[in-house]
Every structure is written in C-alpha cells, then in structure tokens.
C-alpha cells in the first residue's frame, strides 16, 4: 500500500467526516447541551434524505439546492416532536426519553418502508463521475466536495447559534441550572423547542447532503445514530466544536481502517475508540464542557 493511497483515503475520510460532523453537531446540541437523550437522530437524518429524494424527483432541481427544504421540514417536525411528545415527559426522565425516541425512530423507519419500500436508491446528480485532480495523483470526487462545503458552512452557523445567540445561550443556561433559567425571563419550553428543532434540522440537512453520495434505504439512519453518540462523547458532552472535530476524526479513521484492514472493521474501530474514551477519558478528548 503506497503513501499516496493512504493520503487519498485520508482526504476521502475528511470529506465523509464533514457530513458526520454536521450529524454529530446536531446531536451535540440536543444531547450534549440540552441533555435530551435522542435515539431518533439518525432516523431524522434519514427523513431528510427521503424528503430531498422526493423533492428532487418532483421538481428535478439539484439536491444541492434542496437542502433548505429538508432543513425547514425537519425544523417544523422537530418542534412538533418536542411540543407533542418530549415536553410532556417529566423533567430528568432519561429512561423515558430513551424509550420514546427509540420508538419514534422505529415509527419513522417503518413508515418510510411502508411508503417507499425497502429498496436501495441512488440519486444520480450528474456530478458523480466528475473528479477534481489535486496533483500528485490525488483527486476528490466533486459531489463530496460540494456536500462538504455546504456542511462546513452550516456547521459554522450552528456553532454561532449555540454560542452567540440569546436562544443558544438560553438553551445552555437551561441545561446548566434549570432552576434559575425561568427567573431570567426565559420561556423554557419555547427555547427547548427551538433548539431541538435546530438540531433536528441539522440532521435533516446532513441527510440531504448525504443523498448524492450515499445509498438511500429506510434503515440508513441507524448507523448514524450510533456514530453521532460516539462523536458527542469523543468531543466532550456539550461541546459543539468537539463533536465536529470528532466527526472529522471519525471519517478519517474509518477511511484508513477500510484501506488497511477492510471495510468491515470501520465500525469496530469507531466503537473501540468510544469504549476507550468512555473508560479512560470520560470528559471527551476534544473541547470543554463550555463550547
């Protein structure tokens, strides 16, 4: 195996990692910051993929222009899930949140399977066979580059939302000292609903951006739920930047693992990393609690 192949694998991994990062940041907001244990995060991403698939099929517009549609629909969906289901659970009922979101994930997956069937789909954007040469025999696949660029821009937006806006601050305040938040004039349910919806929209957009480069099938989200939890823990609970960094690292590690040991080892390495960090550095390896 040449060094060139390793560099190429790392570049590809970084591009995948950009999309992982967006999925992970969404969960870092919902689970890391808000402390809502959401096992439906991957299913929300999957819904974003199908929404984009249908929207592209109906309009013929490029999926790269359709990601705001997926984001908007999933934002509304997230707000409904929060107000309709999650806000009705008693505060701190982690176990009920787990059951509820696992149930929700199964309902989403099965509903999609009922409507669209279990077949695999692949969306051809016409860009798929376009490769951009980087020199030294290295190249990048065009759709990955476009998805990565959009994901990076949205990640910056998400970061600014959590750290710089009053709503993002309020969401962190609620998580840190729930007893004091309403005394600041914070409408707790409203802020939680918006933040949950933003995290859900991030998953939906990630799904839209993944569509041109990934197979589409009803259970595609499951592995992303797992990976998103790995990213939040690796990044340090509550750290948006940490989760994004962990997403990039995960992408590269998976890609190199596939190259040297074979594809089947990629997920194994993810979870070995996860278990090691949980055991030896439970605070995460990147970032701090704060940001």
């Amino acid at each position: 195996m040449t060094a060139q192949a390793a560099v190429q694998a790392a570049i590809n991994g970084l591009l995948t990692g950009g999309l992982y990062a967006l999925v992970g940041m969404g969960l870092a907001l919902i689970f890391g910051v808000m402390r809502i244990v959401n096992f439906a995060h991957g299913a929300f991403m999957m819904l974003g993929m199908y929404i984009t698939f249908v929207a592209v099929g109906a309009t013929g517009v490029s999926p790269y222009l359709m990601f705001p549609v997926a984001g908007l629909v999933m934002f509304v969906f997230g707000a409904l899930v929060y107000y309709g289901l999650l806000s009705r659970l008693p505060a701190g009922a982690d176990f009920m949140q787990i059951l509820l979101t696992i149930g929700l994930s199964l309902i989403c997956t099965d509903a999609v399977q009922l409507v669209f069937g279990a077949d695999y789909h692949l969306l051809n954007t016409g860009l798929a066979s376009t490769n951009l040469a980087l020199g030294y025999g290295l190249s990048v696949n065009a759709p990955w580059v476009v998805s990565f660029a959009i994901a990076a821009a949205i990640s910056v937006g998400l970061y600014l939302f959590v750290l710089r806006t009053m709503t993002g601050r309020a969401a962190r305040a609620i998580a840190q000292t729930p007893a004091a938040a309403p005394l600041m004039g914070i409408n707790v349910h409203r802020v939680q609903a918006i933040s949950f919806a933003v995290g859900t929209a991030a998953a939906g957009v990630a799904g839209a951006l993944l569509l041109p480069v990934f197979y589409l099938y009803p259970t595609v989200g499951d592995q992303f739920t797992e990976k998103a939890f790995v990213m939040v823990v690796l990044g340090g609970m509550g750290s948006i930047v940490g989760a994004a960094t962990a997403g990039l690292v995960l992408g590269v590690v998976e890609s190199l693992t596939s190259l040297y040991w074979g594809n089947q080892w990629a997920l194994v390495v993810d979870f070995v990393l996860f278990v090691l960090v949980l055991s030896f550095k439970p605070g995460g390896i990147f970032g701090t609690e704060r940001a």
């Binding site: 601050r169 007893a179 005394l183 004039g185 409408n187 704060r290």
Partner: protein
C-alpha cells in the same frame, strides 16, 4: 393613598399535598426595602416563589402594580418587572460572568437597555467587572452572590426579590452585601428580602414581616424599628 407596588392577599400555596403557605398577606410599597423574617420552613422562600410565578397559589391573589399576576408563568412576570435572585445563587457555572449577566437581561424590555444596565451594575459591583471573562463556577461565594444580584438587576426590575443573600458568606462579606443592597434600594429599586441575618436585614429595611407556619404574624406591627426592639422577637430570632 396610592396602591402598593406588590400586594399579596390571603395566599395559600404548596407542593403537591404539602401546604407551605396557609395565609400570607403582605404588601410592598414602591421605593421600600422589606424583609421577611421567620424560622426555617416557615414559608419565606415559598412566598418569594409565589411572587415570581414558580409556584402558583391555590387560594388568594398576587397583584403587581395593580395587575393580578397569580396565574402568569415566571418569564412573563420577569417581563412585568419582577426579578428573583434565588437562594444559593444558582449561577450558570460553565458560562462566563459576562454571559451570566447577559442572560439576566434576557427578557424583551431588559434587552433593549442591556448596555446601560451593564454599566450600572459594573459601577455598583466593581469586583464583578474584574471577573467578567471568568467562568462563574470558579468564583468565591461572595463574588458569586454579587454576580447573582447583578444578574438579577440586569433585568432592570421595579421589584427585586432576594432570597438569603448572605447565605454561607463570611461576616465581613455579609456586611458589604447589605451595604450594597441598601445602595440598590437608595437608587430607586424596590427590594423584598428573605434573610436569616435578621438584624442586618431589618436594619436596612423600612418594614418587615414575621412568617410562622405559613402565616404572617398579625400580632406584630410591620415597622422595622418596632420589630427590632420587640422583646419576644429578640429572644426567638435574634439570639439577643
């Protein structure tokens, strides 16, 4: 006679089946500092929680500037001009002091004058100014209490509720704290305090109420000077 700023009338309230307040009637006029005195578990903190909307009364009424606020959620009560600094400070520990203060001005009316409010607070609490970039959880107890009061004032309230502002502080800091509270009152903010340090609390107050078993003791007058010189109170609460 003009109407009081805050009027609590015959309030009963509790948590589940536990009745914490049986019959609370009191008022606070604009510009006053008033202290609630009483044993642990008498219902002082719950009285503040009813005023700020964290607990809704099962009977009775709370009026603020004439308006019935008994059924409003806390965030709308903040919007109307009541700011509650809770017992034990309850800062946001992983955020900077500056962020804590900004959150104090979260409500709509406060956000509009956030900059002026911040300048006012930093002038009142110069020590807070030195700590703006520090995480709130890393401050000393006295500094945390200063930040908690400053954060409460960032809401530009007409009525400030202070729950045990001297809790767990060294005597010298306690003295400083009460001087600050008197200064805040002199600048025109109306203050309602719950305080274990009865003498210090009443000394800066114009009036006080003694709460026992969820009721205001009606046998006592409410003038702070009278309460301070009352023999029965002196032996029961002041340890004098």
């Amino acid at each position: 006679m003009s109407q009081p700023l805050l009027q609590v009338e015959g309030v009963e309230a509790g948590y589940g089946s536990l009745r914490a307040l049986a019959d609370i009637t009191l008022h606070v006029d604009a510009g006053e500092i008033v202290t609630l005195v009483g044993a642990n578990g008498a219902g002082k903190t719950t009285t503040l929680r009813v005023v700020s909307g964290l607990v809704h009364p099962t009977r009775g009424i709370v009026r603020f500037a004439g308006e019935d606020i008994s059924r409003l959620p806390p965030h709308e009560i903040v919007e109307r001009g009541i700011s509650h600094v809770p017992e034990g400070r309850k800062l946001f520990p992983h955020m900077t002091v500056a962020e804590n203060l900004a959150l104090g001005a979260y409500s709509r009316h406060a956000r509009a004058r956030m900059r002026e409010a911040l300048e006012e607070q930093l002038a009142t609490f110069p020590r807070v100014k030195e700590r703006l970039a520090q995480l709130a959880g890393t401050l000393s107890g006295g500094e945390q209490q200063m930040v908690a009061i400053a954060r409460g004032l960032m809401a530009s309230p007409r009525l400030l509720l202070l729950d045990e502002p001297s809790l767990g502080l060294a005597p010298k800091i306690v003295e400083e704290m009460f001087a600050k509270i008197a200064e805040i009152g002199a600048k025109g903010t109306t203050v309602l305090i719950v305080e274990q340090n009865v003498v210090e609390g009443l000394s800066i107050s114009s009036r006080g109420y003694v709460i026992e078993n969820g009721e205001v003791d009606r046998t006592l007058g409410s003038s702070a000077a009278e309460l301070l010189s009352n023999e029965r109170l002196r032996s029961a609460y002041f340890g004098l």
